[in-house]
Symmetry: C2
Subunit: 353 residues, 2 copies
Amino acid sequence: MKDIALRAGVSESAVSFALNGRPGVSPVTRERIRRVAEQLGWQPRAAARALSGEGSATVGLVLARPARTLGVESFFLQLVSGIQEELSERGLGLLFQVVEGLDAECATYRRWWAEHRVDGVLVVDPRQDDPRPDLLGGLGLPAVMIGDADRATADDESPAVSTLGADDAGIMAAIVSHLHALGHRRITHIAGLPEFAHTQRRIASLRAEAARLGLTEATSVTTDYSDSEGAAATRRVLDQPQPPTALIYDNDVLAVAGLAVALERGIRVPDQLSLVAWDDSVLCRSVHPALTAPLRDTAAFGRHAAQALTALLDGAPAGHTQEPLPRLEARGSTGTAPATAPQEGRSGPRQTS
Amino acid sequence: MKDIALRAGVSESAVSFALNGRPGVSPVTRERIRRVAEQLGWQPRAAARALSGEGSATVGLVLARPARTLGVESFFLQLVSGIQEELSERGLGLLFQVVEGLDAECATYRRWWAEHRVDGVLVVDPRQDDPRPDLLGGLGLPAVMIGDADRATADDESPAVSTLGADDAGIMAAIVSHLHALGHRRITHIAGLPEFAHTQRRIASLRAEAARLGLTEATSVTTDYSDSEGAAATRRVLDQPQPPTALIYDNDVLAVAGLAVALERGIRVPDQLSLVAWDDSVLCRSVHPALTAPLRDTAAFGRHAAQALTALLDGAPAGHTQEPLPRLEARGSTGTAPATAPQEGRSGPRQTS
DNA sequence: CGCAAAGACTAAAGCGCATTAGCTCTTCGC
DNA sequence: GCGAAGAGCTAATGCGCTTTAGTCTTTGCG
């Protein structure tokens, strides 16, 4: 910067003014300085900038999931990819951290805050009684809860925390309607981790929809999102005396694992059993039969989250944004329910080809 | 820090010395300062630290893949997870960026370097005639090429660039041996992007192994790693007059897509066709039949990469590390080759159940 | 014509830490 | 007993940028 000032024959302050669009330099001087800076390929040093008032030009994202379930869902990289699109435009960096649990996640926020390493954070996997909005609100660290949050908390206490909602209820309604229209009356929902708020919302939505449609046999079982628990839960459910004719899985991995169990048992999909995956992904399209799934635009979701955060960083008040309802793409894994003979024993599990 | 100095009754310098383990303070004073600092929950501000000589305590990782193939492989998140384990211990942050292409990737390195935003970078997907080692070497930005690199370049020009090699040749040899032992004589390799160095190495290794074993029909076709190209390539290969009896896929997504094609055509796996996936993942274990795959410890791979980088940051000379050869896990997708009747027309494709 | 106000620019302070030079007091060696 | 050495600490400087408080010049207007 000193160089630029020297070569342009002005003071360092003038350079700073010129390059940051501040008033105090004539248009002609400004242009001259701009040219010199560009010629020298100058870029402000991030640390210096951060030290003198500006933020760190970085937002944080921490992923707290057991290692076992990491890296299986397409969801996160898609989300991050969308987040980046928005952040890059604003010249913001993304500080990324993978940790084991919630405590470590909170510790990470505290550290980032203390070190002034990030200007804000994006928070995923909202939970029931989530301590994070309060924590972040208390620290005054701008944040966006991705995938909704307890509204009660969000409203009162933490004006720095925005929320971005996915329409879990709407999606669940669409799925259940789809299955109901195909004649399914016994539906089981293989859900994810019970401590996640969206898991609870989905479970509640299933119950509500079932009530609305008069379905008496619509239940949810929770898993840890891992393939092994997905397979185990599927086995358990299919072993019931009156197994369901349709299964709803909370993510693609669970669904694929479930599909494998069905194939392994010689159960024909979708003739004998219909499957729905909550998240669409390459996975859902790759397996045979392809899995019916809601077509969420995850990258857009990430983009919107990043937008909500940048708005917050610009001083806008915290708010709530709702994602539009995605379309449910019917694929090969869902079909008309098998003829409902009252004595269902024969079409149950254990049909080894 | 001023606070700490005040409360401990010493100067700021003493605090700095004490907290950074520098000589110049008595043990008892040091302990007192430590206690006060802890009590106040003090953390050095990252920007200030970076400004005064220290590095930015951050390393960068940029992912340059077409959006289509993003977020499908478990590989990356696993890798990142391993990287983090190592970095966290050293208090280093990970700045993460997703871009569309190689040019954007290089631009990102330049910007990070100019802004002093990172102390070093981890580079994935080495390519043929890769411009990145030279670029990074030229900038003097410490870097680790993950998954080997052109040794020629690495040796001479860029003393700041280490390489971490995966034993592609060894894995390919193991796979081919496995298939050969099962009686397979016609093998096709559905590879990834041809511009990646490891793709070329795998192709070359297949050729070498085939020559060694006297296989005349061992070929490779390249794809962009996407499920659609994986499926398309599989169809094309199976449509040949003398289709192969075994397919080797360069990642899990390709393999799963290929498996779906086989199932769709009613080709029994592994009775009529054996499949091998290069990367193991939940995916490979979830589908039915489960896919034979080499059990690479991807998290360890990431850990080692991070270790190589921290070594570099500590001033160690650049070097090359080699990952151990992973074990090939035989699963349901590989079996003995179908009886090789000279007239093979019947067991070809188009067997609709 | 004189004075105020606006415009263009510079000097200097400060952000929070690390570091170097310097200062004081004790201890040791001869 | 006196100088040197060293331990324990403080004062001051600098990192590269932003920003505030000026300085100087020009312009407008009564």
